[in-house]
């Protein structure tokens, strides 16, 4: 059993990649210390613990060299506490399928939100919104396949893809409000709409979902530090 205070997580509450690690730590009942990072002015700790990417989250476990990259951290946590709420399935082909969709979500879904923010013109934004809708449809089909009639991607309880996609829900709500669109809706993606409600009320997840105020501050910081492209 991992001793409390042995694990530290360097992160920013607004970062969905940090949130997904927090969800896993909660699911596995691993106590940890959260070290707050200001991404507008990166700390010495971040620059030295993740010199390659200088990004959060970074996991510290005892005296070991820090581990960056949320998906790598999640697999590490699953391996050191395999008996408490297993996150990834044990079957090799199911593991591969889960990893495939995590990669898809991180490279083809979430980056569209940033692309939407960066795109200055209305026409450009509409094109990206269209892509977001198409991707959400694919995710609905994936949910149907993975859940197989059960409440979560992971089946009876939260699993890998539930945390991998679930961490983006706060930003999804934000993007929907600011762009007058619905990413998940009752007609196109009914199963995911139900899943979103379930995730939001899950014990291990709701405590670390960032507030709208947190996201607004972060968004304003992004608008200054990485302003949208010129029209």
């Amino acid at each position: 059993m991992t001793k409390p205070s042995e694990i530290k997580l360097l992160g920013a509450p607004a970062s969905p990649f940090v949130n997904r690690v927090q969800f896993v730590l909660n699911l596995k009942s691993i106590e940890y210390e959260f070290i707050h990072e200001n991404l507008a002015s990166k700390s010495e700790l971040l620059l030295t613990s993740n010199p390659v990417y200088t990004k959060v989250p970074v996991l510290f476990h005892g005296n070991k060299t820090p581990i960056p990259e949320s998906l790598i951290i999640i697999e590490y946590l699953d391996e050191i506490e395999p008996d408490v709420h297993r996150i990834l399935p044990t079957d090799p082909s199911h593991r591969a399928e889960n990893r495939f969709w995590a990669n898809y979500i991180d490279t083809k879904f979430f980056p569209l939100y940033e692309e939407l923010r960066m795109t200055p013109d209305k026409e450009g934004k509409e094109a990206i919104k269209k892509q977001i809708i198409e991707v959400s449809q694919l995710l609905e089909d994936t949910f149907v396949k993975f859940s197989n009639g059960k409440p979560y991607f992971g089946g009876d309880d939260v699993g890998y893809l539930d945390v991998v996609l679930g961490c983006f829900l706060a930003w999804t709500k934000f993007v929907e409000k600011h762009n007058d669109m619905k990413v998940f809706d009752e007609v196109r993606t009914p199963k995911l709409v139900e899943w979103v409600k379930r995730i939001w009320s899950h014990e291990a997840i709701k405590i670390d979902v960032p507030s709208n105020e947190t996201l607004v501050s972060f968004y304003m910081m992004l608008q200054i530090h990485k302003p949208p492209r010129a029209a």
Partner: protein
């Protein structure tokens, strides 16, 4: 587990496909190889990888596995016997995953053979800087994450097929800039799984020249 029905859809020049070939060879898995014409993708490929329509795809007992690093991990899991491609220690495994992902994120040499002048010089410098980060990780170790050849090495070694092409087109010497990394390349190539899986460097050079013509460069 019966080793039945293993098919690899690939394209000879793909560094990603080479990763899978190395992994399968390390495990001694026999498989059927199907060369894809990427300008005319087969219906099998489109069916097995509808999301990305890309190679490599491993089909095991009819089930497709896509994305090269994911396939390599699958091969390690499914043929759970020596040699292990990933370390058993969770911490060392995390390190191996980090460096394999780094290669995917950062390895980008296209501008060396698609640009000229200042743009090409910048591309060359960025590429060498990248190789130096990897060389830094290698240090004095025989392999990227320790004493054993594994996942991180498998992820990177196929890119060495491009070194001759980049050096010739870019007028640069990778060995001069990164001698330890080049020594690591030679060490990896001593393994039959690697030497048999990598495309010939001169063939890659000709391929690069053909690509340049195709792009009108």
């Amino acid at each position: 587990m019966a080793m039945s029905n293993v098919v690899l859809l690939n394209s000879w020049a793909s560094v990603f496909g080479m990763r899978v070939k190395i992994a399968l060879a390390e495990k001694g898995v026999e498989y059927e190889y199907k060369e894809e014409d990427l300008s005319n993708k087969s219906s099998l490929l489109l069916k097995m990888n509808p999301v990305h329509k890309a190679i490599p795809v491993l089909i095991h007992n009819g089930k497709p596995i896509c994305e090269s690093n994911i396939i390599v991990q699958y091969v390690d899991d499914a043929w759970n016997k020596s040699p292990s491609l990933l370390p058993s220690d969770p911490y060392l495994k995390a390190q191996a995953r980090f460096w394999a992902d780094f290669v995917d994120e950062k390895m980008y040499a296209k501008k060396i053979w698609t640009t000229k002048g200042d743009e090409q010089e910048i591309a060359k410098k960025e590429y060498i800087d990248l190789l130096k980060v990897l060389e830094g990780q290698l240090g004095d170790k025989p392999y990227l994450t320790g004493d054993s050849f594994g996942y991180a090495d498998i992820s990177l070694i196929p890119f060495s097929c491009w070194f001759y092409a980049l050096e010739t087109i870019g007028n640069m010497s990778i060995e001069k800039e990164c001698p330890k990394l080049v020594a690591w390349v030679k060490r990896c190539k001593e393994r039959e799984s690697v030497s048999k899986s990598l495309a010939d460097s001169h063939k890659m050079y000709e391929f690069a020249l053909q690509l340049q013509k195709k792009y009108g460069l």
